[in-house]
Amino acid sequence: MSDGATIASHFEDAEQQREAGLMGMWLFLATELLLFAGLFGGFAIYRGLHGDAFAAAARHLDLPLATANTVILLTSGLSMALAERMAHAGAPQLARRWIAVTVALGASFLAIKGYEWHHEYSEGLMPLLGLAFEYDGPDAAQAHLFFDFYFAMTGLHALHMLIGLAALVLLWMLGRPRAGLQPDRYIRQVQITGMYWAFVDVVWVFVFTSLYLLRS
């Protein structure tokens, strides 16, 4: 794409380009969904096999903090939706403000998540890298398995959050008031990034439900 024209040279018109971009993102999200599905599928099977052990292990997680995080992340979904709305309404600077809010909320989510991980690490609940696993409940082996899933799922989700945050920061910088800013293109970029962010939100809802809420 050259900076001079809004439409890349291999497209017929802006509409075709917009539709192609959106469809590409939808397909990418389908891929992402199946990536997580492998992990969730495994978790569902083991939850069935070792129900009691997993429920007991889940009670070792910090539900209040995770609930707070859920609220924060869903709110960031709202602010991103508002950013999109503003971009569509032809107010890229207002959109940028909401993007900044989204970034702040996303970063707080990660900070809280990091604190949670640290807490679990100091309690000896992080059976990674050969660290000792200190667990006082019954079925310690299966609890180990639960925490394996916990770190894999929340870790993969956090990685997606990081990628999303990087994209949002980039979007924020791209939208600064300048001569070359193309409103159409910016709307497209906000919309596509917003889709990704919404996906990361939705995945968290499933992570939260499977890991934190299934505790009895």
């Binding site: 291999h10 017929e12 199946l34 495994g42 082996a141 394996d148």
Partner: protein, 527 residues
């Protein structure tokens, strides 16, 4: 617009004009060069395997080395040659041309996918140099996680990385097919090559991520000590097989559908007849892609899954034979009453038809629960899937190269030599792999480097066949190379074929068409 005489190949000569290109035609060349290297690396491993198997005693290599050889052969051939083979080269080159588009929807992603592919290749090559990997191409747990002390992490990471290049290619193809078709090119006017690549792309984006997750969990288990497949913690090694085959069975169709697309183009052109039952062909392609997702358990009949699951998976597997048979019968019906020209592409196309039929029918045999208990993990299985992947896909790949070479390069290659190469492939292939059906039936297991003496005759036949096969692979390298220097100019449409790709010049200009074409007829309008 471009000046007369300029085309995508002479637009620029610098290395930079290749490495930073976003032109789908040049990216196709980059893929072609890369996968050819991998093909010969995988071929070298196969050659060593066949040499070892000339004698009953394991004389040439240790059993550990042998394990690493067949693992390298499988990993390289499946992920670094067969999966990208037709889609990444001919698909990349031809899909926009056949759709009447100027490029794929996301040219930069297309370039990125090649870089990711190459990066993944470097990982895996490093694994081979670092001592190799001995798990087989399937990375089965718990061997790959708890026991193997070879370079599993590197090799699995390479395959993990390369998965993203498949995903990007698939995503690009789907969006391009949906959004970039020329005016008048309705879905039911699409060439079957486009349909085949479309179905392949669906599998790529839906199945690959599950494989990525399975491999990621292996890497995490080895590096971080996560124990999801560890039986001591209550984990189940079979879960890996389920996740792995959920991808890798559909991936078998990634490794045959594009070949079916190529053969449809070749057979119609050289029989001078429209394809028989176009709608049935389209439905079959989509049905194969769909059924491919519900048959993975047939790899696990003896792995301890429940009998009822086995019965269902067996039934669904029989079901896949229906669309495959429809396709085979339709190709045959297309030939009926045609004016057949026995050019090299057509010989490859006809070889495909015969070899795929044998491969497909032996697949039905293996899908039978009781029979599979006898044949599982024997050479019968090896022969079966080589009939599909090599007899089917590699034959179609070479057929497609011969068919579109004049369009891609603007030059013709030697007619007689290409016919020799096509025949060498057919004869060499059958000599290599038909004896393996017999070996398997007699009880020769896969993955052993020593065997009882009564199997020697069949093994020697197989190894000799591999030699003939090698001639069939090397010859085209010679005359293709020659044709680049000295080949006669091909003209825009040397085969007198239909299809939008033949309407533009050879080689095509940078943006494929001077004016966007309009389509008014069904495909394969031969009379």
């Amino acid at each position: 617009m471009s000046e007369p005489g300029t085309h995508y190949l002479n637009e620029g000569w610098t290395l930079r004009s290749w490495l930073l290109t976003t032109d789908h035609k040049r990216i196709a060349w980059m893929y072609f060069a890369t996968i050819t290297v991998f093909f010969f690396i995988g071929g070298l491993a196969a050659l060593l395997i066949r040499l070892e198997l000339l004698t009953p005693a394991g004389e040439m290599v240790e059993s550990d080395t042998y394990n690493k050889l067949f693992s390298a052969h499988g990993i390289v051939m499946v992920w670094f040659f067969l999966v990208p083979s037709i889609p990444a080269t001919m698909g990349n080159f031809l899909l926009p041309l056949m759709l009447g588009a100027r490029d794929l929807a996301f040219p930069k992603l297309n370039l990125l996918s090649w870089y990711i592919f190459t990066l993944g290749g470097l990982f895996t090559m490093t694994a081979v140099i670092a001592g190799g990997v001995d798990t087989g191409w399937t990375f089965y747990t718990p061997y790959s996680t708890l026991f193997s002390n070879s370079a599993v992490v590197l090799a699995a990471s390479g395959v993990f990385v390369v998965g993203f290049s498949s995903i990007l290619t698939g995503l690009n193809f789907i969006v391009t097919t949906h959004k970039m078709r020329a005016p008048g090119l309705t879905w039911m006017r699409l060439p079957l090559f486009c349909w085949a690549n479309y179905a392949t792309s669906l599998i790529m984006i839906l199945a690959t991520p599950v494989l990525s997750m399975a491999l990621l969990l292996i890497v995490l288990e080895r590096v971080l000590g996560i124990g999801i497949f560890d039986p001591e913690l209550g984990g189940d090694p079979l879960l890996f097989q389920h996740l792995f085959w959920f991808y890798s069975h559909p991936a078998v169709y990634i490794m045959i559908l594009p070949g079916m697309g190529v053969v449809s183009e070749i057979i119609t052109c050289f029989a001078r007849r429209p394809i028989f039952g176009y709608t049935g062909m389209v439905i079959s392609i989509m049905a194969i892609a769909l059924f491919g997702f519900i048959v993975w358990g047939h790899h696990m009949f003896v792995a301890g899954q429940s009998l009822y699951a086995g019965i269902l998976f067996s039934f669904f597997t029989f079901l896949v034979a229906v669309p495959s048979a429809i396709k085979t019968l339709n190709w045959t019906a297309t030939l009926y009453g045609g004016r057949i020209r026995f050019t090299a592409p057509m010989i490859y196309g006809l070889s495909f038809l015969g070899l795929f039929t044998i491969g497909g029918l032996t697949g039905v045999i293996l899908a039978s629960l009781a029979v599979d208990i006898h044949l599982h993990d024997t050479y019968f299985v090896t022969a079966h899937f080589h009939y599909i992947m090599v007899g089917g896909m590699v034959t179609a790949y070479l057929g497609g190269l011969h068919f579109w070479w004049p369009k891609i390069t603007g030059r013709m290659y030697s007619g007689p030599w290409s016919i020799v190469a096509a025949l060498a492939l057919f004869i060499g292939f059958n000599l290599t792999f038909f004896p393996q059906f017999l070996l398997g039936f007699l009880g020769m297991p896969r993955r052993y480097h020593a065997y009882p003496e009564e199997f020697q005759l069949l093994h020697v036949m197989s190894s000799l066949g591999a030699g003939v096969l090698a001639v069939g692979y090397l010859l085209p390298m010679v005359y293709f190379g020659w044709s680049l220097w000295r080949g006669k100019p091909a003209g825009d449409n040397p085969w007198d074929a239909t299809g939008l790709e033949w309407q533009t010049s050879s080689p095509p200009p940078k943006h494929n068409f001077v004016d966007t074409p309009t389509v008014t007829t069904r495909p394969y309008d031969y009379v």
